[in-house]
Amino acid sequence: MLKRLLIAFVLAVFALSPASAQGSKDVTGRVFDAANRRGIENLEVKLTPPRNSNLPIRLTSTDQNGGFRFPQVRQSRYLLEVSQGANLLYRSEVDIATASDLQVPLQKR
């Protein structure tokens, strides 16, 4: 009886631990021209976690197909921002727990 209780306790601790609740996964995405779905290269993509979350800010740029990839991102809500130099083009809050393929459509000016 005592052994079963001990096993149940250990399982409960693991199930409730922050480590299992906040796993990491690769996040990919693409920035593209909404008119012809062509990828846009050399844009800065930034993932900002909520303040005081102690999670790292992630920064990368799009490749020639408009694709970007953030390896091993801790599951949380993030602010996704796409910039071209000093110009902010896109901003949206995303939940990495439910979405790992981020699509960012942009319109030509």
């Binding site: 602010l79 000093a86 110009n87 809050e93 942009l106």
Partner: protein
Amino acid sequence: MDSRMILFGMTELAGFIMVAGGMWLIYKQKIYIDRESKQPIEINLPGNFSFKSNYPALALFVLGFVPLIYPFSQLKILPEYPLVRRVRITGMAHADAYPALVYAAEVPYPVVKDGDGFEVEVPVIHGNEEYKVLLIVNGHVLDSQTASAHQTTKDKTIPVQFNPVIVDPPNYKGAIAPVPAAYQ
């Protein structure tokens, strides 16, 4: 309350005690110089100004006016010299890209359109210390200027001239949501 007011109050009190005490001593003729020698007391003041008196009480009375009046002359200019206590903002940077610079500003001044002026209030600094003034757009430092304390004008401002910045307009535009409170 400004803690300097306590110091001013104490100075005022000391001056008042000196003046009132001097008057009382003169009135009562309680203090005088050695009766035998009859030597007068000589008071030397800055600017080769001196006077003699047989009564130190008179000197006490006259000198008491200095601490009595000085705080009054300083009180009106006190707001121009805000009391600044320096604190240190400390932390650790993990950026994976170096060198990085850390700046701290009390409140940044938003400039929303071309040609708008700016006015950033900063703590008073003395000597040849300098402020670093940055023009930041979307996290990018577009220009950085130095404002020296010794350039302060009569109207208590330090003029700073940024270089004109020409940013190519972006080729694309997208949806820009406002920053949620959790990220501010």
